[in-house]
């Protein structure tokens, strides 16, 4: 069965607390809980399956993972007891600066080895399976292989899975001009564990992952294609702002559930 749920955000806390049946699982963004008490984390993680999602571990940065960020991440994992953890296929910091934003990496062998090493280190430190997420980016970096081959090789080397962000895939396919289904069908379907989905925005002739919009029809269709292709275990709506009435989110969750059930 595919679980359907939400990325937990403070403005949604009241609704989540009423235990609506549409929310079958929650994704906790680890950084949002770094400054919160043990009790607060335990309370949010009670009652439903949870997954812990990282933003700032910067797996593509050379050298060991930042020890302070890793310790804080581990604490959230230990308290919330997630089924798996996730991070992005990106870097957010360099040896000199914290960019604060997911920045793409070229699909090279050197990058493959570096991310594999850091992914294994993260998974072992947290004692949980790790899945890695595709990001959106304005710039595309050339490498020694295409992105799906890079992802397949990474999963094989690091023993990790994939979190396919359907919206990011859609946006990249539009902005960079490729077929998202062709991209998808090059992935090993057995590696795809979880999906993210949220509406995109369009301005200045480009598509953006603003995380502020309702999910559009073409995204539901792409989500259906992924679910048909791979044994997806969970789908998370990743809304970060412009929060709608809970009933609208509940309706989106039901639509995704219908996609999973093939209705």
């Amino acid at each position: 069965m595919t679980l359907v749920g939400l990325g937990y955000r403070t403005p949604l806390a009241k609704w989540v607390g009423t235990a609506p049946p549409e929310i079958e699982c929650l994704e906790l963004t680890a950084e949002h809980f770094f400054d919160q008490s043990d009790e607060a984390i335990l309370a949010v993680a009670a009652d439903r399956p949870v997954f812990v999602h990282g933003l700032g571990l910067s797996l593509a940065t050379p050298g060991p993972l930042d020890p302070e960020t890793l310790r804080s991440f581990q604490r959230v994992v230990d308290l919330s007891n997630p089924k798996w953890i996730s991070e992005h296929l990106a870097f957010t910091r360099t040896a000199e600066v914290d960019l604060g934003h997911l920045t793409p990496v070229p699909p090279t062998r050197e990058m493959l080895n570096r991310i594999s090493d850091n992914a294994i280190a993260l998974s072992e430190a947290c004692n949980r399976p790790l899945i890695l997420e595709n990001i959106t980016s304005h710039v595309m970096m050339a490498g020694e292989m295409d992105e799906p081959s890079f992802l397949n090789q990474l999963c094989s080397n690091a023993g990790c899975g994939l979190l396919v962000d359907v919206t990011n895939l859609y946006i990249n396919s539009k902005n960079h001009g490729f077929d998202p289904l062709e991209w998808l069908h090059q992935l090993n379907p057995q590696t795809i564990v979880q999906l993210h989905i949220v509406g995109y925005s369009y301005r200045d002739g480009r598509w953006h992952d603003s995380h502020h919009e309702p999910i559009q029809k073409d995204l539901f269709e792409l989500c259906q294609a992924v679910v048909d292709y791979a044994p997806v275990k969970a789908i998370i709506i990743e809304r970060d702002g412009n929060f709608p009435d809970p009933q609208q989110l509940a309706s989106e969750l039901r639509k995704i559930k219908a996609v999973c059930n093939g209705d």
Binding site: P62, T94, A95, E96, L99, H101, S137, H138, M141
Partner: protein
């Protein structure tokens, strides 16, 4: 000393002058960056337009986050808000999981030190409180805005046992000074 590809990308994304120099003469800039050949090969192929967009995206993201915490301060800056933030943001990059709060506090400091515009004090108090470990703070403020009208107010900031910050404000019913107009 040789640097890795992410460090080179970080420098190029955060330094407009270096970026401009790089796109005018890639080979010369790559030589000064002292990259290994594979990393240099990646940078040689980067598209200028989309890379500029990527760099601007970093600043836009920070501006968007700061706007959520300092909406009135940015409204008081008016049409200059975005440009003023860009000037500030190019010279300072906050670090860590509290970077957006640090960014907001530092932007307030920049506005005050550089005399670039007014800072809405209750907003600054709130972000400074969130950044601190304090359980309680009380402020008398003269620029609390209600329906775009400036009022005298007492701002009480608290933090729950779970670490969640909260705020209560008591303000006088009469307003004074200029109202904000869009």
């Amino acid at each position: 000393m040789a640097i890795d590809l992410t460090t080179a990308l970080g420098r190029l994304l955060t330094d407009p002058a270096l970026r401009s120099e790089f796109f005018q003469n890639r080979a010369a800039t790559l030589e000064t960056l002292d990259l290994d050949p594979a990393a240099a090969g990646v940078l040689q192929q980067i598209d200028e337009t989309t890379f500029e967009r990527q760099a601007q995206g970093l600043i836009d993201k920070r501006f968007h986050e700061v706007m959520k915490m300092l909406p009135m301060t940015l409204r008081l800056l008016g049409e200059d808000a975005s440009r003023t933030f860009q000037e500030y943001a190019g010279a300072f990059w906050p670090d860590g999981h509290r970077r957006h709060l640090i960014d907001a506090v530092e932007f307030c400091r920049y506005l005050r030190d550089q005399k670039r515009g007014p800072v809405c004090r209750p907003e600054q108090n709130t972000v400074e409180f969130r950044l601190s470990q304090r359980r309680f703070r009380i402020h008398l403020v003269t620029d609390y805005y209600v329906h775009d009208k400036r009022r005298l107010a007492i701002q009480v900031l608290t933090r729950s046992n779970d670490g969640v910050p909260g705020q209560n404000v008591w303000y006088l019913r009469f307003s004074y000074g200029r109202s904000i107009r869009n």
